[in-house]
Amino acid sequence: MRKNLNVIAAYSVMMGLIILVGIFQSWNIALSIFNLCLISAVMTMGANIQWGYAGLINFGIMGYTALGGLAAVLISVNPVQEAWSAGGLNILFSLFLIIGMVLAVRYVLKKYEKSKIRTYIIATIIILGIIIIRFVSEPGIEAIEEVDPAKTGFLGGLGLPIIFSWIVGALFAGGLAFVIGKVALGLRADYLAIATLLISEIVIAIIKHEDWLTRGVKNVIGLKRPAPYEVNLQQTDWFINLVDKFNASKLNLIPDFAERQATLNQLVIEGSSVFVKLCYSGLFLVVVIILLIFTQKALYSPWGRMMRAIRDNEEAANAMGKNVVKQHLLIFVLGSAIVGIAGAMLVTQDGLFTPGSYRPMRYTFLIWVMVIVGGSGNNFGAILGGFAVWFLWIESAPIGLYLVNLTTAGLDDTHFLKVHLIESVPYFRFLMMGLGLLLIMRYRPKGILPEKIEIK
């Protein structure tokens, strides 16, 4: 108990802050912050596995998040029959061609020794393959995108419950990580960072511009929900009774019946959106707890010990007979898969998929700030980082406004400097993130909750 005191204290402060937001701003805001904190926590757990356990730097988090989101679309949206009949055949055929191309390249790689001719053969296969695939897929893609472009214009998905996408998102992200890992893991740390960053940009470019698959920048809206809809809730009896019961003391104070009914209605509307958010919180909390149990178990298992050994001294671990390359690849895939889950969760919560919103600042660098600030190598630290940094990210605008008002109190309200500063309040969040990161890295390089390994 005592040795975990700092963990408990840090989490209590965090929960206290969120509750304070609930009391002073609104429970709706507090819960939406809490939900995104949970999603950020899943992302930081993924990044922490790679960076904290194994020392692998991955700046491609944005790409895996987007792939998770794509999974949510492909799983939950109903299939568009017309689009399938218009161009589905071409797409399927191109898919087979791609598989064939990959198999051919693999065959050449295995069968022949490394030589210039082999490289040329592979290059020819790839170039020819791309040209053929373009010829095959072009008419199909055009046909698909012409099917009711205002509403669909894409193939749609499988029409399954969106919850399944959390697993599929993990598979997608893991698959991409496998390919990237095979290609890039041999690089030195900072090159791996740049390479993953650039590859994630390529992923986003593809998601943005392949309209037949993702609708691209036209966005997919109105995804299915695992939680009830507010409008339906507002008309169910048990929910109205529940709200009535919760606010009984407050409602009893109002003597007039009509006024009381109006207040109740207002409360029901507010309550319904809080209730929906609570449903999401419950679902997300389950994911976070399951992942936390697994990652904690892994951290203290022999496997976790081996990962730390590899992280701390690659050569020594290699000399002890540990397959460093294989383990790196494994942990790269695992961590990315967790990020993929978070990506699917995010889209599930929003109910919409907007490829244009994936930007490295928000989905890669912010997550890294969370991991570093929270404490890399320590799961509780990483989760705390997710909570604290996301909380600051959202609440920095009000804090910034307060600070601006405080420092410019002596100035007139119409003074150009004050007006300008108040206009630029939204950008104070970047300043706070940057300063926070710099200060933590300088004075507490292991994060708020540092890594602590107990030998059991």
Binding site: I57, A189, A205, I372, Y427, L431, G434
Partner: protein, 336 residues
Amino acid sequence: MDFLNAIILLLNYIFVPALTYGSQLALGAIFVTLIYGILRFANFATGDMMSFGTMFTILFTWYFQSIGINLGVLPTALLAIPFAIIFMVGYMLIIDNFVFKYYRSNKSPPVQLAMVSIGVMFVTQAVVRIIIGPSDRRFFDGEKFIIKAGEFKEITGLNEGLAIKSTQLITVIVTMALVSALFWFLNKTKTGKSMRAYSDNEDLALLSGIDPKKIVMITWIIAGILATIGGALYGLDKSFKPFTYFNNMLPIFAAAIVGGIGNPFGAFLGGYVIAFSEILLTYAYRKFFMYVLPESMEPGGLIQLLSTDYKFAVSFSILVIVLLYRPSGIFKGKVL
């Protein structure tokens, strides 16, 4: 005649834009490569440092415009750049003193320095947005074109026009002058040679009496000059928007690595490699083939290898291929 038209077409839509864009990338890439070679970390704040320098250029341009100073046909920004450089170098030296110096003297691993540079990136981005705002700004004045497409057609009597913007010419001339001066400095002067020695082997350089503090300071000064001029030229040619500058960091990194990181000449050529491949692969060649081929063989489609949406993706794919097959870059930099 058709053949001439085809050449002019390529010059107008591929060669001139790619040369300009390549020059802008090259300056950024040399900046990245110098920081990497001498200070030994990947600077993720590159794009934002460039936007910081450009911001000062814009502020000085506005000031000069308000008191009525201008350069006639040339953009006022050219006059503002030297003043902006002073502020930019000051900012870089302050950052180095308060942030990077600590990790350098602790001999922290490069990854940690890269992380710190992300902190600097956040702060710089915030400062730029707080001071000048996130919106799109144009600060070009003076004569816009050297040759307009219409005039060119009249003079030569060809079907295709060749338009050259004055910013394009300025970009290329300034880049060439700056890069030649830089290479002269690195190869001929004593300080430049000691910088190269320090980059090549730090311990040996220290043994032979090279002052590391001086080297680091000069590196930041050169970096400040490159960042400000590169950023200002990009802003003059296109427009200034903090978010675009942040995104430009990616092709700049690609250029530096493709050219062989730590190798300034490689970075310089890498900028053009990236720019030309981006534009060559995403240009629609339909019109070109219409001129070159006989009428019966006229192409049906756009003859575009990749859609322009994938412009960035091209440079990143080149980078991935280079990293796989020649990790030290085309022109032999440090082995990664």
